[in-house]
Structure formats: C-alpha cells, structure tokens
C-alpha cells in the first residue's frame, strides 16, 4: 500500500495491490477480473496482470500449476499492476509458496486452511505447515476454512455435487475481499445472472457463496476495519476496462471503418496473441474476415493475398511465429503492399516462456529478414494505447505502402486498465493509395513524391493489370530486373521510403525534466513501470530526471538526438539483454548511454528501478 491515511474508523488508501493465487483450475483469473471490474465501476483507476502457467490444467496443488491474477487499484493514477502485494489470497500451499516473495512483511495473507493438507503441503514442497511453524509470523495471516464454509453455505441447495460446490470457493474469497475494500457485490451478482442465464442453480450457488464470504469477513474479528479506496481523479469521459489485445483488435476495427476497407486477419493461434484472433472472429457483423490458417506462414501469406486484393490485411503472432513469417514479410516489403504484423512478444528464444513477458523480439522485428529489408516498427506501451497504435499501424501501412510491425507484449496484451473510449469519427483520417483508373501511362512502381509510396492497383480495376513478385523490380515498370544499378537504386529507395516516415510521426517528448542528469529511456510495454519509478524520484524532489519513452522505433522520431543530448547520462531500460540500446548506441555513439536489463519473464519492479536510477543520479 502506497500511503495509509486514517479517516475515522476506516483506512483510506491511495492504492492497493491484491493478488489472487491458486490452482490453474481454481478460477483465479475470473476472481481477479471481477475484483478489478467492480473497482473500476466504483471509479478507481486499475491495472491488472494475469500470471498463469502454460499448462492448462497442471497437476492439482503443484508449484508450477499455480495461476495468479494481480490487481492494482487506486484513487491515484495507476500505471502498473504494482510490485508489492498488500493482500495475497492463497487458495492452497503452492499458491502461498510461489507468491509469498511478493508480499512485504506486515501485509496481509488470506489462506484457505482446508487446502493445507499434508498431501498439498508435500506437493508444494513444504517440510512443515507454514501456518503452524511460525514462518509467517511477520505477516498478518487471515485463516478461513473456505472449502468447508463454501460447502456449508450450499448444503441446502439440491442437486449440486461435491465437485461443483467446491468449485465456487473462489467466490468465497472474492466476497471476503469485497468486504475488506468496501466494494459492492452487486456487479458480480449481475455478472452471474448474465453469464449463467440458463442455469439459475449456478447463479444461486455463486451468489450464496459470494455473500457467505462477504458476511464471513464482516463478522470475522481478525479483520479490523474495512479499507476504502476513493475514486481516482481521471479525465471526464466514458470509460471501460480494456485488455491490451482487445484494444489492438478494436484499433484495427476502427481503421477499417474509417477507410471503408474490409478488414482481413490471417492468423495461426499462438500464446499470448491468440485473443486478438478470438476478438476479431466475433465481429463478422462489421464485415471482418478472419482465417485461422494452417500455419504461421499461411497466416501472413493469406493476408498478403488479401492486401493484394484490396483489404486492410493484418496478421497476428508471437516471437516464434514472427520467425516463421520472416520470408513473407520480405515479400510484402518487396512488392510494397500494406500489411500489419502484430507481434505480441513473449519470453524467448525458441519456445521460451510462452506465458511470460519479454521485449526480446525487437532486433528480430528490425532485422530478421534476408537482404536489405527495412520495415516500419512501432510499439504500444499500455493496454489502452494498443488501440491507438493498432490504428496508427494501419494508417502508416496504408499511407506508406510498406509492412508495419506492431510490437506488443504479454504484459500489456493480457493486462487491463481503464480506457477512455475513442469514437472512430474522432480518429485521424487515413488516406489510402488506391488508384481507380489511370488517365495516362501507368506503371506499378510510380511513387508518390513525398512518401515514395507506390499506387495500390487492386485486381478488378480495368486497365491496371500488372504483375508483382519477389524478384527485384525495375524502378518504374515493376518488371523483373537484374540490372546492377537498378538493384542499388531500389534498395536505397526502399530504405528512404521508411526513413521519410519520420515526417509523418510525432516528435519524441520527455516527461518530468526535459534536461538534466539522467534520462530514463524505454520503449513499448515498460512505460507504466518506468513512469512510476521516475515519478516517485521526481516527487521526492529531484528535478534532473526525465523519461523519454519510444513508441516509434523504425524510423525513430526526428528530434531523438536533440532530446537525448540534453541529458548527461542516459539509461535504456529493457526486458531483454540490451536490444534497443544497441540501436541507440549505433545511432548516437557520442552519448553516454548505459543500460538496465531484466530477463526473468517478468515486468520491472518499482523498487529495482528506483534504486537503479538513484544510483545513476
């Protein structure tokens, strides 16, 4: 908890971090989502972070089968899901063991004591019961027999077997947490009514257990006073809680509507990108076409076909899939067609850490193709702004006729936050390069004087029949050309075309100090972590630390050098072994650039960043 103010008998907190941890079948994701949605309805700012195993149903009680969901809610601006857990709900010993490190001494742990059996303790590799051996004496432990209390609450309900009863014990935990933070159960009960419309018995059971947990907490003397999190100050408007991947999908819907083009997604399921496919597959009413292809390569090549035929075409993937798509990205770049490749990064290399976050595909996105093959690379930096950058990716690819790689990551893709709803009519215009007919002699590789984009002549247009392909093109006609000078010219013009995108993207800005001792530099999904750490140091009185966060990576904003040069030292923070820093050093070799990296499949923690930055100041 960030600050603890006393307001009469109630503790008013600015922000609180709650983590639910249990077996992957315990419903922790649902429990966490309900808590965060309810808090958002109450007017809190929220950020969430699910942490779940790659195995769908790992053996019950095992350490690697633990599924977690963290929620950070506050009456102040929340930019990350938080580091230090104020309240841990552990549904079994494994959930306790794997999450205890995140809870600071003095903070609260709620456990289901029914789950602390000898068998479960063994599975969690506890030699003795932590509830009995004194190892938790520095924490405030709230013990509740959740499993048996849940069964007790449901004993009068007919037709429920033991398994179904036990399954709703997560709602008992949620009820307790609702009472502790003074949240209403109404939103969740409403959710049950909608979700289980045709199963009134399930609605009744869940409602009963939720209320039982709520009243249990109320009557339990172990919990002193309920906490209240006051509403946060946010810009007026209509909000909703949105996940990064949903925001990405919606950004493309908006771009398709704005341009009047049909949206085509060719994709192959891969964690953590799949729910962009799931989301877009729902929206056939907007004319969205989704193809779940036979493999990653067909995902992108079907999109290239759709782009050739005039659709706004995208493909979605994660690291290993991006590797498989490399040759096809080269083709799209060579034939100069619009195409967005969304890469929701995960821990690598190879299969790596599918459900964990990392920023280690940057160099692959930049350079991972044969030949001289530059493309536009941009990165979203929060769950909500995935919307804006998906839209921007569509705008750039259509206006500049070259593939755009949009980088997201597991952290922002699965995380959620309040999103001030954008209406499509307020989004910037997108001007496509579609050509209907030509009054004079037309050639496929005629270019726009400013952007160097070529025309997009779509099959079905009379008189513009032409051929494209992966072989080197004559600079005007687009026919196959092996002429040495032509190849050099075309290589350079394709690079120049990307470079000129600088003229169409916003300049780099700094937050906090705009000159001084230390500039913190990041890109993509680390924005929230870096912002909170820099903000904390700035609020402690330091006015020589600034933050410059990149969303545009290739090309970089025009004023990059100017911004960086105003600081004595630059620290580039990344969740990889130092990729963006390599690019920056190559561009700006006279600047004092150091790096800070974390490669644990986890986001940055606030404490580590603050300590690092202070050591550099």
């Amino acid at each position: 908890m960030t600050t603890d103010k006393t307001d009469g008998t109630q503790n008013v907190l600015e922000a609180v971090v709650v983590r639910f941890a249990g077996d992957s079948g315990d419903g922790m994701q649902l429990t966490g989502t309900q808590f965060s949605d309810t808090s958002a309805m109450f007017g809190n700012d929220v950020a969430t972070f699910p942490n779940y195993p790659a195995e769908i149903r790992a053996p019950q009680g095992s350490l690697y089968g633990v599924s977690g969901f963290q929620v950070h809610i506050g009456s102040i601006e929340i930019s990350t899901p938080g580091d230090d857990v104020d309240l841990l709900v552990a549904m079994n010993p494994a959930g306790l063991k794997t999450n205890l490190h995140a809870v600071k001494p003095g903070h609260t742990i709620i456990v289901d004591t029914d789950a602390f059996t000898r068998k479960n303790l063994e599975k969690a590799q506890y030699e003795s019961n932590p509830l009995e051996d004194g190892s938790l004496e520095n924490y405030r432990v709230i013990e509740a027999k959740m499993t048996s209390l849940t069964k007790e609450a449901l004993k009068d309900l007919e037709g429920l077997d033991n398994k179904s009863m036990v399954r709703s014990k997560n709602m008992f935990a949620l009820g307790m947490v609702y009472w502790m933070y003074n949240r209403s159960t109404a939103y969740t009960i409403d959710f049950f009514n909608k979700k289980f419309k045709s199963k009134p018995q399930i609605v009744e059971a869940n409602t009963k257990v939720l209320n039982a947990g709520y009243y249990f907490a109320e009557t339990l003397e172990l919990i002193p006073n309920a906490y209240t999190i006051a509403p946060a100050k946010m810009n007026p408007g209509t909000y909703r809680i949105i996940m990064g991947n949903t925001a990405t999908a919606w950004g493309f819907l908006a771009a398709a509507e704005k341009t009047g083009l049909e949206l085509f997604l060719g994709s192959y399921p891969i964690t953590p990108a799949s729910n962009i496919l799931h989301e877009l597959a729902k929206h056939k009413h907007f004319g969205v076409k989704t193809l779940q292809a036979e493999d990653e390569i067909a995902g992108i090549t079907s999109a290239i076909g759709a782009s050739f035929a005039g659709n706004l075409a995208i493909t979605t993937t994660s690291g290993p899939g991006l590797a498989l798509k490399a040759e096809a990205i080269g083709l799209a770049m060579m034939i100069e067609l619009p195409l967005v490749i969304v890469n929701v990064q995960r821990g690598g290399p190879s299969t790596g850490l599918p459900t964990k976050t990392e920023q280690s595909d940057l160099l692959q996105a930049m350079y991972g193709r044969n030949g001289e093959s530059p493309v536009i690379v941009i990165a979203a930096s929060t769950p909500g702004n995935c919307f804006r950058f998906a839209y921007e990716a569509a705008k750039l690819t259509l206006e500049h006729m070259t593939p755009v790689i949009l980088l997201s990551d597991g952290y922002i893709a699965n995380g959620s936050e309040p999103w001030k709803i954008q209406t499509t009519k307020d989004m910037p215009d997108i001007k496509t390069n579609i050509i209907q007919a030509s009054d004079q002699e037309w050639h496929p590789y005629h270019r726009d004087d400013d952007t160097l984009a070529r025309n997009w002549a779509v099959p079905g247009t009379p008189g513009l029949e032409h051929r494209v392909g992966g072989l080197e093109k004559d600079k005007i006609t687009g026919n196959v050309s092996y002429v040495p000078d032509n190849h050099e010219y075309m290589t350079k013009i394709r690079a120049e075309k990307i470079q000129r995108v600088q003229n169409y993207i916003p300049e780099l800005t700094t937050e906090f100090a705009s000159s001084g001792d230390l500039l913190v530099v990041g890109w993509g999904g680390t924005y929230g972590s870096l912002y909170s750490a820099v903000k904390q140091i700035a609020e402690e009185g330091c006015n020589t630390i600034g933050l410059a966060h990149f969303n545009y990576i290739n090309p970089m904003p025009k004023n990059t050098k100017e911004v960086l040069s105003k600081f004595k030292k630059i620290v580039v923070c990344e969740l990889n072994n130092g990729q963006f820093v390599t690019i920056l050093k190559a561009h700006f070799d006279q600047l004092d650039i150091v790096q800070y990296n974390k490669i644990q499949g986890l986001p940055f923690g606030n404490l580590e960043l603050v300590q690092k930055f202070k050591s550099l100041l």
């Binding site: 007017g43 509507e257 009413h285 067909a298 099959p459 029949e465």
Partner: protein
C-alpha cells in the same frame, strides 16, 4: 465475374510484353499457350483474373500473362490465393505451381487449400524433377531415379499427385499430358466452370533435367494405347482400336479386351466423375496401365466462400452493431465526471 457484355478477347490479349524465358522445347510453352487460348472462352473480364504462383520454373508463368498476377515465395501460392479469393470472391483466381512447390515446401498449404474448397483453380506442372535449381529429385521423382542430389538413385518413395489430392478431399482432380494443348484448354475451361477448388496435374516434360519422363504414356505413338482419357458418363474405353476397357474384378480394376472372352462394351465401367464417394477415383489415379487422364473427379460441394457468406449474413442479421461505436460503448462502461 462472367457476364455477357465482356469484350471478345483473343489469346493475344492475355500475353504480357515480357519475353518468355523457359528452355526451348519445354512443355511450359504448351501450357502457357493453352491457357491463353482458353481464357477468351471463359467469359471473364481480364481485370477479374489473377494468377498466383510460388517459386520454380512453372512459377514464372504469371509474368507472361497480361492479367493481375503475383510471383510469390516458395510453396505459398495456395495460401496467398486463399487470401485473394476471400478478399474478393468475384475474382477468378488461378494458382500455378510445380511438383516441388506444391508437394514439398508447400505441402501443407496444398492439402489445406484442397480441404477448404474455395472456388480456385490450381495447375500443377509435374515434371518429377527440380528444374530451376538444376536437377535435384522432387517429391514425385521415382525411387532409383538418378539426379544431381541422388547420384546413386533416389531413395525416397514418391507422392502421387492424385492420391494426395483425393486424400486431402479434392473435389476436382484432372490429369493431362503436357503435349495435348487442345484437350488442356478445354480442361482449363471446365475447371474454371467448376464451383470449388479444381486441381489439374499436367504431366510436363522437362527437356533438360528429366527428358522423356512421361514419354511411355504421352508419346504420340503410344498414348492412345497407354492412356485412358476419361469423360464423365462415358465408358472407360481406350486403345488405338478402341477395344480395351476397364471393369471391376472384386476390389480391383482390370483391363479387358472387348470381343474376347464374351466381353462387350456393356461390361465396361462408365465413368462417374460426379460421384461423392472417391473410392473409384482413387483407384483410377493409382492405375499405371493404362494411365488415366481427363477429369477423374468433379464432385460439386459447398465452397468455403458460401459457408463464410452464409455465416456472415446470419451474424449480421442477429447483431445490433452496425458501427464500431456501437461495440465500443456496449456492455460495461462508466462515466467519469
């Protein structure tokens, strides 16, 4: 797509200004000309025709056609064509591919495009060799075949294009010798008229790296005796004297001679290309004597476009969302004032 007011084209309207660069004597020239002769007969507008190819000798084909076209990357033409057709179902989309392009590097796309059954036309130029990379064995090369990469003989058993295609649920499969342009043009027209994915395997001689690979079936002197050119609804009779035919003997096809052992034309099987059950079609594609050519299977089935259209219309009529704002402001939203 097809309409009565299309202008009357000749083959020249479909020839691009690019010089054709295949080796002299290659069957690819025959196929190109057969296609350019067939297209004016299809009643299509030129701007509605798209040729997509992969990589290999055959895949240069789109450069020589004055239509929309893409020479793409190795093996991926079926997937690209799938995207083209989904984006605009009004287009007549053709995939040009070879034995290596379709059944080695592109094997996955090849079987999946057949299973999905979009209204596409695929022409496989099968020469049982890799030409563009100068003479390695292909997935249709014979066991024992000596090539640059199999100097002591190929040890990998071949795919049969037809067997593979039917196994992948091809609704239309035809086979034709690379030296019979008239029949080929007619076959292209019929494949275009077929609603669904049509696959034509052309037995294409490579005069440089695999010369004569099909000559025991396709040479003028022997082809009537060695090939059975099947036609739907007609008896399966072949031979210079039109006296040989196929009949079923138990679970096997056997060649019989009309006039011998009391066999009459009535004993000969009648070809039913439109039969849903592919059992007999499988037996026909496996036969070595005679080699069966012509349209072996032509079973019309619902296409992917039809399924997708039907689904989209159903979703549309049940949805209250007409624009993105309806979605963005739907469900759980809240006001900050």
């Amino acid at each position: 797509m097809s309409s009565t007011d299309t202008k009357k084209y000749t083959f020249k309207d479909f020839a691009s200004d690019q010089e054709v660069r295949w080796c002299p004597g290659c069957d690819d020239y025959v196929i190109l000309r057969a296609m350019q002769n067939a297209l004016p007969e299809m009643g299509l507008k030129r701007e509605d025709i798209v040729f997509i190819s992969g990589i290999g000798c055959s895949s240069r084909f789109p450069y020589y056609m004055n239509t929309y076209g893409m020479h793409s990357i190795h093996g991926r033409a079926p997937a690209i064509a799938t995207g083209v057709k989904l984006a605009n179902p009004n287009l007549s989309v053709w995939v040009i591919t070879g034995d290596g392009d379709s059944m080695a590097i592109g094997g996955n796309h090849f079987i999946h495009v057949l299973r999905r059954n979009m209204d596409l036309n695929i022409v496989v130029f099968n020469n049982e060799i890799y030409g563009l990379t100068k003479g390695q064995f292909s997935p249709t090369s014979l066991v024992g075949q000596k090539t640059k990469s199999s100097p002591y003989g190929n040890t990998q058993p071949p795919f049969s294009t037809g067997e593979l295609a039917l196994g992948a649920q091809a609704r239309f499969f035809a086979r034709i010798g690379g030296n019979t342009p008239k029949e080929m043009s007619k076959m292209f027209i019929e494949s275009q008229q077929f609603k669904g994915t049509s696959l034509i395997e052309v037995l294409q001689n490579c005069p440089i790296f695999n010369d004569g690979c099909f000559s025991k079936y396709t040479d003028k002197a022997v082809r009537e005796d060695q090939q059975l050119f099947v036609e739907h609804g007609k008896p399966m009779i072949f031979g210079k004297e039109r006296d040989k035919g196929l009949r079923l003997n138990g679970l096997k096809l056997e060649v019989v001679t009309i006039g011998q052992n009391n066999i009459t034309e009535n004993d000969i099987l009648t070809h039913d290309a439109k039969e849903q059950d592919p059992t007999l079609h499988q037996m026909l594609v496996r036969l070595k004597y005679p080699l069966v050519t012509g349209i072996i299977r032509s079973y019309e089935d619902i296409t992917l476009e039809e399924r997708k259209n039907e689904q989209r219309e159903r979703v549309r009529s049940n949805s209250s969302f007409t624009k993105t704002d309806d979605l963005f402001f739907s469900g759980e939203t809240y006001e900050i004032t």
